[in-house]
């Protein structure tokens, strides 16, 4: 089934290629000869041993160097190493000449090994593609009768078309997106979402490719061909993430472009000028110049930065967080402002009854029964939440009857007749219309009042029910965790009324709240927050002038507007990715949360959190920061060592051995450090 493996790992199943095995043999052989040369250094065997070691370790390097000259590609590594070793030979430093070639080969081998193994482990991480699919095909019975039999056919997931019926047995991966026609099961979504809790599915539910069927056999109707299925999109996204390069990567390749020629020029000058000026022997200076040549390779730097970023992106994928480019990972590391959409991001995005307040002398169950009955014919989300709550609450106390003469009073509520009473159910306006007083309510949310008619102009107030879109359990925790990471600005954007928005903002500890925003205003609010970070952040709703002066208020006034300091941190916007695509696009980093199963969200965002779990924001911020720190460590460390050895070499205090360390040793250390990014949790 080799062809059906994830594309990322295609042809890379063996960490060791044949070439690498050959390299090991060469390196070992040259190493043994080199050591022997040392042991018998006062015999006549010394020189032949060194020559043999040199040739075994360096023949291809020399060959490539010659080819490089023919193709007018100077300053290529092979060329530099060859010249450096020849220079060392000229100076009579045979062991050094062999060391340059031998350790260059060791470094190269190690680089390949590290890169291949990290590629492979990240590919394994994304091993979400099913290797085959079992298609169910109806065929006519061979006995000639008209009855049909269903046969199972093993096909590649790519061969499936919408409408096909497939069988997914327990333990198998879902090959393409589809809908369950028969059977029920639970699905392991961990590879996609990082969530360990299985998802229960029944007939009619959609199944997402890349998940693993755990318990029951499913007959699934294919709804999308493989290339449009979630699994293909996710793989494509992860594979192409590293083509959007981070600024740090661009910097390092640009640096490398100037670094090598400059160091080579310095080496030339060092070899020529001091001897001409009459300071010491030519061979001494040549030896020092050769030290420069050995150090002039920028590979450690150039390899360690993309490797770290790639490993960081891999770490995030394992957590069910897809980062669409190294650039976004870098931007995320320096995010100073997190802006959140309220509904569906900070909150659950669905209404629930949070409080039931019966009027004096009324039983709660009576109030709930009447409200449930009255609202049972409405399609409004608030009504539905009351009905759901009421049915649950009254489950033991008997059933709820059906209302008669049901009527909706636009913008106010409903009226109906229930058990002989005229019932009114609705908002403050409705109650005032009935000449009843509206009680004070401190609980935040929408209030649904219930009243009944006693006589012609007399009504009785039965109480009210508070319905609210409650914050997620871990929203407050996440906000404080982000603050602990030094992210001071946390902004909430919402179309909700000021009071509701402020209360939620306060309870979650957000530093700023923009409320009563129309959908289009959110982009303006983000822009205000982005430009506001370099001026005084005092956003007074210009975007929403028509609404009222209440939009754009500050919840924790002390925290937010006090800071007028300049900062160049980025702004990340977190939304559900479905109706906030323009805001996602406008922010420096657009993060869609709970995107599992939503193609639109996956398309729109820069960073996709598959699970509906807000705490992943902390995870991804930590991963981004740690990855970038590793990149910087590598850059600083590699440059510091290289410059130090060049400085020492120029004045004759460093040997060729030190130069070999500065080249190969630094590369190995930088790569090992980069691989740490793969294990961030």
């Amino acid at each position: 089934m080799a062809a059906a493996r994830p594309r990322l790992s295609e042809g890379r199943d063996r960490i060791m290629t044949r070439k690498q095995k050959k390299d090991i043999i060469r390196i070992s052989a040259a190493g043994v000869l080199f050591a022997c040369g040392y042991v018998w250094s006062d015999t006549s065997l010394r020189l032949p041993l060194f020559i043999a070691a040199y040739i075994i370790a360096g023949y291809d390097t020399i060959y490539e160097a010659v080819m490089g000259i023919i193709h007018v590609q100077f300053l290529d590594e092979n060329f530099l190493m060859t010249i450096a070793s020849i220079g060392a030979i000229y100076c009579g430093e045979y062991p050094e000449a062999v060391a340059v070639m031998l350790f260059y080969k060791v470094g190269e081998f190690f680089e390949h090994y590290a890169v291949n193994s990290s590629r492979k482990s990240i590919a394994d991480l994304m091993d979400i593609k099913a290797e085959y699919a079992t298609k169910l095909v109806d065929v006519s019975d061979e006995s000639g009768s008209s009855s049909q039999v269903t046969v199972e056919m093993t096909v590649e997931p790519e061969e499936l078309v919408p409408g096909d019926l497939i069988l997914i047995k327990p333990g198998e991966k879902v090959p393409v997106d589809g809908i369950i026609r028969t059977g029920s099961s639970s699905l392991d979504t961990a590879a996609l979402t990082g969530e360990s809790m299985p998802q229960d599915v029944i007939v009619g539910d959609e199944v997402t490719s890349g998940t693993i069927n755990l318990t029951g056999a499913l007959h699934v109707e294919v709804t999308k061909p493989f290339e449009d299925s979630t699994v293909a999109k996710v793989l494509d996204l992860v594979e192409n993430a590293s083509s959007r390069k981070a600024p740090v990567e661009a910097f390092i390749t640009k640096f490398a472009r100037y670094y090598t020629p400059i160091v080579v020029c310095l080496a030339l000058l060092l070899a020529v000028i001091p001897p001409l000026a009459g300071f010491g022997h030519f061979t001494d200076w040549l030896y020092r110049a050769m030290i420069f040549l050995v150090i002039s390779c920028p590979c450690a730097l150039v390899i360690s930065v993309p490797l770290s970023l790639f490993a960081g992106i891999g770490s995030a994928s394992r957590e069910g967080i897809l980062v669409k480019g190294s650039n976004y990972l870098e931007a995320l590391a320096s995010v100073e402002t997190f802006a959140f959409d309220k509904t569906g991001t900070l909150t659950h995005g669905r209404f629930t009854v949070s409080k039931v307040v019966p009027a004096a002398g009324i039983e709660a169950s009576k109030l709930i029964e009447i409200a449930t009955a009255a609202e049972s014919l409405s399609n409004h989300p608030i009504a539905k939440s009351i009905v759901a709550y009421g049915k649950d609450y009254l489950a033991s106390a008997g059933s709820v009857g059906t209302p008669e003469n049901y009527e909706e009073i636009s913008g106010k509520g409903i009226s109906c007749i229930y058990k002989g009473n005229n019932v009114y159910c609705g908002n403050d306006k409705l109650i005032r219309d009935l000449d009843l007083s509206v009680p004070e309510e401190s609980e935040i949310g929408s209030l649904v009042h219930v009243a009944i008619k006693l006589s012609n102009d007399e009504y009785r107030y039965l109480g009210h029910i508070v319905v609210a879109d409650t914050p997620r359990e871990n929203s407050a925790e996440t906000i404080s965790a982000l603050k602990a990471l030094g992210i001071e600005n946390t902004i909430m954007l919402t179309g909700d009324k000021r009071e509701v928005a402020e209360a939620v903002g306060n309870s979650l500890g957000l530093s700023k709240v923009y409320s009563e925003l129309l959908p289009g205003d959110k982009v303006d609010a983000i822009e205000a927050a982005m430009t506001g970070r370099s001026t005084t952040p005092s956003y007074t709703s210009t975007a929403n002038a028509g609404a009222s002066a209440t939009s754009g208020i500050t919840a924790n006034a002390g925290v937010s507007t006090a800071s007028g300091k300049k900062s160049r941190g980025h702004l990340a916007f977190v939304g559900d990715g479905i109706n906030d695509a323009p805001v996602l696009a406008r922010a420096d980093v657009g993060i869609a949360m709970g995107a599992f199963g939503s193609d639109a969200a996956i398309e729109a965002a820069d960073v996709v959190i598959m699970a509906d779990d807000i705490s992943k924001l902390v995870t991804v911020t930590k991963i981004a920061r740690k990855t970038l720190r590793i990149c910087k460590e590598n850059v600083v460390f590699a440059l510091a060592v290289k410059f130090a050895i060049m400085a020492l070499g120029a004045v004759g205090l460093a040997s060729m051995w030190a130069a070999v360390f500065a080249d190969v040793g630094v590369a190995v250390i930088a790569i090992l450090n980069a691989l740490r990014a793969m294990r961030i949790r």
């Binding site: 193709h71 890169v115 590293s242 920028p298 490797l307 790639f310």
Partner: protein
């Protein structure tokens, strides 16, 4: 038009950067990005010149490292 190809035997990160710079200079190329980690090259070039660009790109790649191939 933007197309992505796999690369073979792309062994050094610095070479990848050199190839990228060289390909960007080819006439008709709008943008080019080589990902060393995923061994992929994406070339954004004018539609009518794409074939020529691809040939020139392979030449530029060969010049930096003879063993490296753009797989079509």
């Amino acid at each position: 038009m933007k197309k992505t190809f796999k690369m073979e035997n792309l062994d050094c990160a610095n070479c990848a950067a050199k190839m990228e710079t060289a390909i960007k200079k080819i006439d008709g190329v709008n943008d080019c990005s080589i990902s060393f980690m995923t061994q992929k090259i994406s070339i954004d070039a004018e539609d009518d010149k794409f074939d020529e660009v691809l040939t020139a790109a392979q030449k530029a790649v060969t010049k930096v490292d003879r063993g490296t191939l753009i797989k079509k």
